[in-house]
Amino acid sequence: MRYAIRHLTRFDYDSPVRFARCNLRLHPVDWDGQRVEEYALAIDPQTPVLPGRDNGYCVLGERFVLDKRADELSIESRSTIIVDRIAPEARPDDLSVAEASRLAREARDLGRTAPANFLFPSPLIGVFPEIAAWCAQELRPERGVVEAGLALARAIMAGFKYDGSATELDTSPAQAFAARRGVCQDFAQIMISGARSAGLAAAYVSGYLRTIPPPGKARLVGADATHAWVILWCGPERGWLGFDPTNACTVGPDHIVAAIGRDYADVAPIDGVFVGRNGQTIDVSVDVEPLG
């Protein structure tokens, strides 16, 4: 499947900003089962864009410095991506959770995608006894790792309510877990926290999801959103496989990976600092158009 993706973010400042430095992580990465064909970025007011500093994870960063006064700032990325991925299924010869954990621990690899990077609590995703215990019901040591991962994703979808008003960007996994509600980020964080507690290497993926309109309805342009899910390292053979706890499925052709890191802080589409007096309103619109 080929997709045209448009991701537009508009900042409206209460009073003009004088200076801003931003990191962008909007350029989708090439990853298993997907290839980026085209990418373009437009910033208004116009300003030169530099390659980002490599943060060491699977991120194609860009950055810019805005040193003129601005009341508004808009950042728009357009990409065309081919996704050729089949949603993985559990196999009888999959490694067990315990084996996958042991191999993740023992892998002699310090590279970008090395499992060791994703074994430990990270700044936004801690390890919590209550999440660990709940997730351990599915992630039993002897269970096949893909089967267990899918079972956990399903358990999260079944046990949690999708509720955009329940959590904020900085809600911790423990808070969302206690409330049993949240959005894709919360579900991904809970699953990652639980998987790491079980000893697995688990990473956070930011990206886009193709939304299928209800039968007879046209696709609404711009109504899509950025999405977040989980990849688990399932041993040297199967490698990193995607699990989507928001949709209780493994990750196939409908998911488009933008960036992969330990948690949201590594992959946030836009962050940075600005010099100004007051607040800002942020408006995000995402459009995922299947080109066939």
Binding site: N23, L110, N117, T226, P269, G272, R277
Partner: protein, 842 residues
Amino acid sequence: MSPAAPNMAQLPGMPTWGQGWLESYVAQADLGDVVRGDLGRGARWWHHLFDGVATLTEGRLQRLQDRIGRQVDDLGTAFRLPGDTSERPWPAAALPLLIGEDEWRGIAEGVVQRADLMEAVLADVYGPARLVADGTLPAPLVTGSRSFWRSMIGMEPTSGHRLQIYAVDLGRGPDGEWRVLADHVRAPAGAGYALENRLAASRVMGPLQTRLNIQRLAPFFSDFREGLAAVCRRAAPRIGLLTPGRFNPSYAEQAHLARYLGFLLVEGDDLAVRGNELFVRTIEGLKRIDALWRRIDTKFLDPLSFDTSSRIGVPGLMDVIAAGNAVITNAPGVGIMEAPAMAAFLPMLARKLLGEKLKLPNIATWWCGQDGPRAEMLANMDDLLIAPAFGDPVIGLPGGASLGANIDWTARAALEQAIALRPQDYIGREVVRLSTMPVVQDGRLVSRPFTLRAFATRAADGSWSVMPGGFARLGDDADVRATVMGEGAFSADVGIVALHPVEPVSLLPAHVEVRRNPGTLPSRAADNLFWLGRYLERGDATLRLVRATLGGTIDADGGQSLVPVTLDRLATLLIATGAARIDDADDAEGDDEEPGEIRDLAELAAAAIDGPGYASIRTLIGAAHGIAEVIRDRLAADVWRLIDMPLPAAPAEDTGAMLARAASLQDRFAALAGLAAENMGRTAGWRFHDLGRRIERALAVCRYVRTFATEAATSDDLTTLLDLSDSQISYRARYLTGLALVPVRDLMTLDPYNPRSVAFQVDRIREHLAALPSLRDDGIDEAPVAAATELGFTIATMRAEAMSRTGLLSLENKLAALSDAIGRRYFLQGAETIRAAGMTLA
């Protein structure tokens, strides 16, 4: 070999207390005690120390402790515990830890070897990562540390080194063997405390230290400074110490070190990155910084590259590092070497990378991330300390590190299950026994376990230089690693006893270019010095009002007290200046002679000292204290001591006692003004301090004249006005007649020869501004200069006869506007804070 006796003659008839102390101490100390060990090997330095102390204290040990305590107060050594709102005095122990030169040589070699090892491991991890690829170093041992930053991979340090300074905690076992307890590489704290302990000890012990041949610390600090300067690109580099700010536990140490080393003490806000270069904001605009000694965690260093929520870092600093335009030391990411689990691998890494055995052994450590060590650890759990591998809290060890034997069976089952799931999070450590050293407590010698923090720095040629000494921490607990400075814990000077007399070290380098200018003044320092001046001058003004008010109510010679209308004006001023804030201001407005009147004035005066008003003495001293803490590196120790002194206790409602208290407080403010006038170098910093004082004084005088020199002024009003400004004598020198309104007005406002007049202040302000650097090259005056010029002309054209309330108010407004203009031009733009640009999410 028996160490040679230092050149101290045993005088006949010398008190024998010293030997008595030593004998009774040794009799009660454990076998492993450091004094017992040294004596057993024939060392004599403890004898000399105790003899010397006996002579100094005339046989009373507590005197030594008291004297050390006074020196510590005097030096202003202090620290905070997390959450403290004010600093605590540093608990310095009276007696130093003495170590013989021979023994120390072995320790120092071990420290240097370990520093080299740290550097080599870091170069591999952030470089080719061969140690991970060949299985020597398990990958999770690196990634499990919060200090591992992938963004630093491949970032070659400009200086060729990631470590410029290194510290290590050592424990001495009862068998006399020194072992490493912990490594400190991120921002090793404590070198400043070692220095202050030594200063305090030197002041008390004096020549005794020389006679004991104690090696000097100063060369270590000059090595550090020169080592850092040597890796900078410019020959005369500007070096900053980047502090997290005054609420950091070791802020006092950082300020002290910055002053001692000649570094600029800077916070993130003081720095700016432009075009991959690092600058400090100064009154002369942005000035290049060549090196930063960071005392803040990597996480907070640059919000664009590390933690986005950091408000204390420097946005873009990573660009500077990547471009190699400034040396940021120690390099970000080095903290991986501090992980307790790393100790398990250091013996092997030393063999592999250095081809040597570790000269200083670690405490034995088992990392559970590997099957073999995990099995051993589980088998010997009762005898080991079970601890988090990376220092962060882990499941199964709710109280942090625990002795295996102390974990009951239910907790143990939970712990073993947690270890099975995430073995990489746990280590077992051998339990350390520490030997003891003497400490004075309640006038008696007792023995306490201790650890020693040693320091190494790179000297100008890049080689390691070890501080001959360090600081010892003593605890009541057997495990002093767990001891934080606070109740019951002491820190002691560590003296290395040389075999031969120590040459008096000349810290003077061979050749130094003469300069008379101390360098560029950072904007923050200018800002703080300015406001310190304003607050101190305001405090002086409040005390003048208090004294006039209280003095005016005393009917000393019968009938000499001020008329009620004048007292009423004083009361109004006390309230209007913000000095006295009382709940019901009407209380103070008495235009009749109620019996309660005098008591009300006393209440107002008391409130002006101890009340919550924004110009009360308590508030102003608090504000001055906050500022002085921030610029401690620029203040003389005496200034800090006067500001840090507590307020004298409030007396009862006795007016005489209150008056005496106000007078003694005013003496303190006068002493501060005197120190500024006589002792501060005539630098830009002094100018800002004086500008603050002049503006504040001019404002106060305008207000006094406006209040007392009205058309309806009584002679009491005019007397009070002259008293408030110490101008009685100036008036009498000029006028033989009695008090008259117009001459008083002229003297107070327009007379440029009266040092308390508004005109005099404005003249000084104009001189200061003219002497400060200009950012313009077109010959046009900058805004503050223009504003001061206009103010000068206004005063020059004013006439005392025609002076009106509005005229005076307009002068006050112009002074306030001038203060703002100075702030805008020279200071940080504090109102505009840096904010997160926000993150977006579905």
